[in-house]
Amino acid sequence: MPRHCHNVYVGAETGVLKGINVTEGEVQTSNFHNLTALERENEICSMCWGDDEQRQVLLGLRSQQVKVYDTVQGTFTMSRQLSSGSGPVIGLAKHQGAVITAVESGIVTLWRYAESERVSVNALTTGEKLCRMRQSPADSAVLATGGQENDLQLWDLARPEHPVFRAKNVRPDMLDLRVPVWVSDITFLEDARRVATCHRHSVVRLYDTASGQRRPVMSVTVGEDEPLTCLSRTHRDHQVLVGSGRGRLELCDIRMGRTVLALKGVAGGVREVYCHPERSYAASVSLDRFLLLHDLDTKKLLHKVYLKSRLNCVLMRRNFSLNPEDAEEDEVEDAAVQPAPASTGPELEDEEDDLQIVEEFLDVPPEETKKKKKRKLPKLKISGEDVADASPKKPKLPKLVDMSKKKKKKKVKAGESKG
């Protein structure tokens, strides 16, 4: 199987990087490490994509090493030992080709080749340790940091002396006690001016950085004593997926200020959550050694993969889909051969006319016409490594009409129709 077929990458506590190829029917996992040469110091603490085409994966290790894995070549191409501050690398990003690292002791550095051009920021002005660093999707020089007793701060690498935005804590509670702060994860919402953070003290807070208000705009309490450990924005801008250390995965609506959905299947603490920006997939990785793939619209658990080591980080490709038609959409987009209109995913309405044209070119006659228009989801599969039976290779549908906006119908069932 070619290496770049993997559409989900997972980093484990033992230091193993795993690539998983998730398709509708089955899941295939491979390890990218020599299993006899693992060290505790090489625990993967953070991961991010190295480039826009998602060909490189950057790994940040506990020993302050940064490794680059090339998905096309299938090897580790670079490894660099850093020496800034102390503690593991808890955040990674790329800015104009240079790597930005954040370590637990609070130092955030932009590593340019020339030492004079390196930018270093001490994000830990208060507090004990830094927990997360994220990059703004709009401006790659803007970073958000947060940690234990260290509230959200936004930094601009062009002006590293002072943070661009420093959050203020909420008002003291009803006993007039200061509310403790432990930012465990940060995410920028789509417009990049609103930032959501989740705290180990079971709150999710939303800040509006352009409004001038330093206090959070919204503070949502999720559960009781639920140490929230990770956060991700979803394909819907007003919703955010939160994972807790007690194994709860909750979809939180920040507009309404409450949780909308709790996803099932996690037995251990959730370490990282990654939602697809356009489609409704959510990948979560937890200490009970499972990778879970949910669909946020239908609330179903699509895949549960056992991965043997405790897992720390997860990444999903932009072209990730369990829907073969989406895969073709992405190919059309990537190749840019046909003047395809901007497709925003399979969320659009069906049109009867185009469906008829599709049916003409199918080998298999379509099933009864009276079926529902809902998209049928595959059954839950709990899979271990290296599932023996591989799915047959699916030949492509002829691209005759512009059917890029089609939702997959029950009739055009993946295994049957194209064989």
């Binding site: 200490l287 405790r310 709990i382």
Partner: protein, 323 residues
């Protein structure tokens, strides 16, 4: 032989003549006497068929001798257990490496001998105190201390600084008048914390065997810890005892896992001959059930859990076990 299963309520009764399933709905009759008669007849018929089938099988076994098909085993919940994906394979390289890098890697690599600190709540009742004394005799290198109103987190920090490797808290609920109902095992310095429900405690003083205790380091037997979680819990419990047992003492501690309950037994054994071994049960016996396994030392509010028992989600099937 395929496992017998109850027909679901909506399902029509199957007409499998060879192995009839539970009685068909047509047996139900409004008149109780007639109903009783019909059920009795059905039962007699079933037993008769069973006897005949068994006779046939015995005949076949006699005829074929060695080539006969193996004896049918009755189904138990253990045989019908839903297979777990996380079952540890003995030759799995990744698990072996993970074990080496584990929190218990130091113990299993024979680097650090365990030193256990045993304590209970603030004012332990007499029974709990007796239990602690016995546990201290059973687990080598254990110290019993009074809690002195310190918190769990603080105790863990101080004990780690003083060189203890494990910390055990016995919890009791005085309002329920049960002696002790919880056990918290914290592995130091930063190891996992396991919370168990403790039940069915029987002291050796009651068994009047406490005078038969010796001070030899015991052997440890771990039974039936098959899944990854079970493997980890088994290692954690094994790391309480010293890794070099003194076989001269013929003392063995058994931690037997069955249906997610861990049974602790303490025996002295003697081999009579090659095949027979005599066991004498000494020492306390108790049962543990894992409630949660937390990564890191005890921190229930802001810590991360490796496994939490979520009754409604996890225990929806009687045939599904986690250890």
């Amino acid at each position: 032989m395929a496992p017998r299963s109850k027909p679901k309520p909506g399902e029509p009764s199957s007409s499998d003549a060879a192995t009839p399933l539970l009685p068909e709905r047509c047996i139900d009759h409004k008149n109780k006497n007639i109903r009783k008669e019909k059920w009795r007849e059905l039962r007699l018929q079933k037993n008769k068929e069973k006897r005949e089938a068994r006779k046939k099988r015995q005949k076949v076994r006699e005829e074929l001798g060695k080539d006969a098909p193996p004896v049918l085993q009755p189904h138990t919940i253990e045989t019908l257990r839903i297979p777990d994906v996380t079952t540890v394979q003995p030759d799995d390289l990744e698990t072996q490496q993970a074990d080496r890098l584990d929190e218990f890697g130091g113990y299993f690599g024979r680097e650090a001998a365990p030193r256990v600190l045993l304590t209970a709540g603030d004012f332990p009742s007499p029974k709990t105190r007796d239990f602690m004394k016995e546990l201290a005799l059973v687990i080598p290198n254990t110290e019993v201390r009074l809690r002195n109103f310190s918190s769990v987190k603080k105790t863990a920090r101080v004990a780690a600084a003083k060189g203890y490797t494990d910390l055990i808290f016995i919890n009791e609920d005085k309002s329920k008048k049960v002696m002790a109902n919880g056990l918290l095992h914290v592995h130091l310095p930063d190891g996992p914390s396991a919370l168990y429900r403790l039940s069915n405690v029987k002291l050796s003083a009651e068994m009047r065997r406490i005078k038969e205790f010796t001070h030899h380091r015991p052997e440890v037997v771990l039974n039936n810890f098959t899944t990854m979680l079970g493997h980890r819990v088994g290692r954690m419990l094994a790391s309480l005892f010293h890794f070099d047992p003194e076989f001269k003492g013929r003392r063995v501690m058994t931690l037997h896992n069955q249906r997610d309950y861990i049974f602790f037994r303490h025996h002295r054994y003697e081999f009579k001959n090659e095949k027979k071994c005599a066991l004498r049960e000494l020492g306390p016996r108790f049962t543990l059930k894992l409630r949660s396994l937390q990564k890191g030392t005890f921190d229930s509010k802001t810590g991360e859990y490796e496994w939490i028992r979520k009754r409604h989600e996890m225990e929806d099937s009687r045939r599904k076990f986690h250890l």
